[in-house]
């Protein structure tokens, strides 16, 4: 007798479960070893709490009423629940706070695309540590986590969430035109971006700046290349990334970071540094994160913050694929 489960969900059988547990144990060891205590929060929260994260209405895909008529929602990620936890339970405690988690999260999916409605995330949140030092600590933990997961070829893309909003404001764009251009940047539709810029009256050097910056990615040399664009928004973003680069360079050994002026993330609470994780073995992004200095304020605490989350199932796929390819030959 076959009893179906909803598309985008899955059962895990013992063999895979053992692999997953090993991966989780290795990650928790890294997190705990760096002072990030593991926490769990309810999968169900009040919708009003999750809504504080902002974003494009994707704070919760599954909402329903409880027996008392309260609107509840399944969390779509862990950053907002942990912000709530810190504000509620650690409001008076001395910062910084360091927490890690391995938890299920829930998102809407497009049909027949292999997307998961319920997926497992592993990540950390560092709350109360300012930019540069805080960002670098988070990158440090992420690199150690990728090492522990055996993803030798994984790369961390590092960008700046404020760059284009600031730059386009500097060019004098109004809210509506600005959003239209940002949407093209986020989709990385360069043909559409050129059209939108033209429609918004951005031409010549300014339009070229926007297009060139969105394609600028690579080692620390791209920071110098970005400086050639004459705009204070660019200078500020370069300065922030430069600080991170300096701090990264002062550690022993190399690093996995690639600077990327085209990086955009769609969650509503990021500012300053943002990051994404890629592995050549899989075509999809393995995880991401960044700074969200404004988020804690929405919960009544004026603390800067940063963190990342990895999609554990995708990490597992990348692990298997890297092993198959012979341990990251490229």
């Amino acid at each position: 007798m076959i009893h179906p489960i909803p598309p985008g969900t899955r059962d895990v059988l013992p063999e895979e479960m053992r692999e997953l547990r090993r991966l989780q144990a290795a990650l928790i060891e890294v997190f705990e070893g760096r002072g990030y205590g593991e926490v769990a929060t309810p999968a169900l929260e009040y919708d009003e709490v999750l809504r504080r994260g902002g974003g494009r209405g994707d704070h919760a895909a599954y909402r329903f009423f409880d027996e008392g008529g309260e609107l509840l929602a399944l969390r779509s990620e862990m950053t907002v629940p942990i912000a709530r936890l810190v504000a509620t339970r650690y409001g008076q405690a001395e910062s910084p706070h360091r927490f890690c988690y391995i938890a299920g999260a829930y998102r809407a999916v497009s049909p027949q695309r292999g997307e998961m409605r319920e997926f497992l995330q592993a990540g950390v949140e560092l709350i109360g540590a300012p930019a540069a030092t805080g960002t670098v600590e988070v990158i440090d933990v992420l690199e150690a986590a990728l090492d522990a997961a055996g993803l030798d070829s994984a790369v961390i893309g590092l960008g700046d969430a404020d760059l284009y909003r600031d730059l386009l404001s500097e060019f004098g764009l109004g809210e509506e035109a600005l959003d239209a251009v940002l949407a093209r940047l986020a989709a990385h539709d360069l043909v559409g971006l050129e059209e939108e810029l033209e429609a918004a009256g951005v031409a010549g050097e300014q339009a070229r700046s926007c297009l060139t910056l969105s394609q600028l990615r690579g080692g620390p040399e791209v920071l110098e290349q970005a400086r050639e664009h004459d705009a204070s928004a660019v200078a500020r973003a370069v300065e922030r990334l430069h600080d991170v680069n300096e701090a990264l360079g002062s550690r022993p050994g190399g690093h996995r970071v690639q600077f990327d002026f085209g990086l955009m993330r769609d969650l509503g609470y990021y500012n300053g540094a943002i990051l994404e994780v890629y592995d050549p073995a899989v075509g999809r992004v393995l995880g991401g994160g960044g700074r969200y200095d404004g988020l804690m304020k929405r919960f009544g605490l004026d603390l800067s913050a940063a963190g990342f989350a990895l999609d554990l199932e995708r990490v597992q796929v990348a692990r298997v694929e890297e092993r198959r390819r012979g341990g990251g030959v490229r």
Binding site: H188, V191, G218
Partner: protein
Amino acid sequence: MSEPLKLAVPRGALFGETLDVLDGAGVDTSELRGDSRSLIFETAGMTLVTMRPSDVPTYVEAGAADVGITGKDVLLEQSDRPVYELLDLGFGRCRMVLAGRTGSDQLDDAERSVGAMRIATKYPRIAERYFESTGRQIELIEVKGSVELAPLVGLGDGIVDLVATGRTLEENELEVREEIVECTARFVANRVAHKLRAAEIDELTEKLREASRR
């Protein structure tokens, strides 16, 4: 040393001009021009994978192909697939249009008398978005093959379809009523490949840009 870059090449209407622009960019396409039944071709420094244009976003999104060429019509219809659109190649120019029977008031009549036009199309999402954005109601009928047939035998009042020369419409006594969007061939990239193989993809983009402007 990394694997060669995989490029998805669309078979069908865009095939010839795609090969021409690739030649112009220094990619050897001579094997693809033969009558080989193979789907995968190895050239110096690049693997060319041939497929239906509508499959290109699927392969590129998943990273099974690093980059690809396909029509804007395909990208618009599959706009939920996040691929990076890097370049307008300019060829394969055609228009997405609303067409009705020549000299007939059927489309307008349908809107007036039953409040919705019945539209047959192979592009349900483009059609749906277009009518939604112009504030009109339609009843959508998705077909897979020759959509010109639909209004002739009473399946729908009009069609939304891609038109290059307009000859097919004419031969079936249909005429363009509204133009929805102009479409050309586009160069697209997988988002992870775009980050991890930046130099190779940027170089190919520049070569294609020059070749497509010649």
